[in-house]
Subunit: 187 residues, 2 copies
């Protein structure tokens, strides 16, 4: 007959583990929502306008697909949506069936490595997109070129919101990968 103290300890330990696993699954859901929204917002970033350069009327029509960096953002988001959907389904299934979220050390390593790859992917896409967005805003200083965003403000706002959500998904992924190292480092 285990003494009350020990029983209490086991219950507390199990509750802590349950909360930790719930948080891990919630991070996957958050990542799915943020990356799917980021992709939808970027896919709807399109606008036409007229810019004025030294009296020349320059028609500007902008669309996310014009810039390789924005294409990169859409591609990275699509990959992350699929990845976090897979992780979310796995996590919910394991929660429901009561099996551990990371059943073996090999799976923990697999999870850590894939989380890291998608982390780098999203950070990279968000940064490439920000680099180009910044250029849209400040114009190019080699030559006196216009600040596109004055003319195409809706387009630039769409892009800015999308990039914000990309970095949010990155934070969800980085937290997941940190959790996995926690699992790996507990003997």
């Amino acid at each position: 007959m285990t003494s009350n103290g020990e029983g209490g300890e086991v219950v507390a330990k199990r509750r802590r583990k349950g909360i930790k696993e719930l948080v891990q699954v919630a991070l996957r859901g958050g990542c799915l929502a943020a990356s799917a929204t980021a992709m939808a917002v970027m896919l709807t970033a399109t606008e036409e306008g007229v810019a004025d350069i030294y009296g020349f009327k320059l028609t500007l029509s902008s669309n996310w697909s014009f810039s390789p960096s924005y294409q990169y953002v859409v591609g990275a988001c699509a990959g992350t949506v699929l990845y976090s959907l897979l992780q979310l389904c796995l996590g919910v299934y394991r929660l429901v069936t009561g099996s551990p979220i990371t059943p073996s050390r090999f799976q923990a390593w697999l999870c850590f490595t894939s989380d890291q790859l998608f982390c780098y992917l999203m950070m990279s896409a968000g940064s490439a997109g920000s680099g180009v967005t910044n250029l849209n805003k400040t114009g190019i200083r080699h030559t006196p070129l216009p600040d596109f965003c004055k003319t195409l403000s809706s387009f630039c706002n769409h892009v800015a919101l999308s990039l914000l959500l990309v970095f949010l998904s990155f934070i969800f992924l980085a937290s997941s990968s940190f959790f996995t190292v926690l699992v790996l480092s507990t003997p």
Copy 2:
């Protein structure tokens, strides 16, 4: 008197540990060299030229400091140079004095977290720089703007080499952080 088998096992284990620590210190050295060179190459990226747009002679003078993304690359490299210099000195000192490279689990966590931060920083800087560089090469498709790199080829080559080295330093950092998780996950 420990049996020969056991002695041999201890010696092999110590040798493996020694090699692992040597590799960790070598990764720090590699990262220092790559990020310092990346910074030097970017700092020397400057050129003047004349581009021809519909018969208009447009003087182009380009310098890394014109683009916020390239400034970001220089800043990130400077931070990484200092960080890897610190880690390298610590590593060499511990190797020479025979103490372990990561003396405690707390230091392993500290190392993992800081490696990750610099990893994200370098991936982010490299991507932002690549986004803008790509724009220099392909021109902007909103309006028929020139491909700067035809005129400023030396500048673009400098930038490309620098970005390549930034991603190389990123790989060194990611490997170091992977090593630290290895240390954390061994009981």
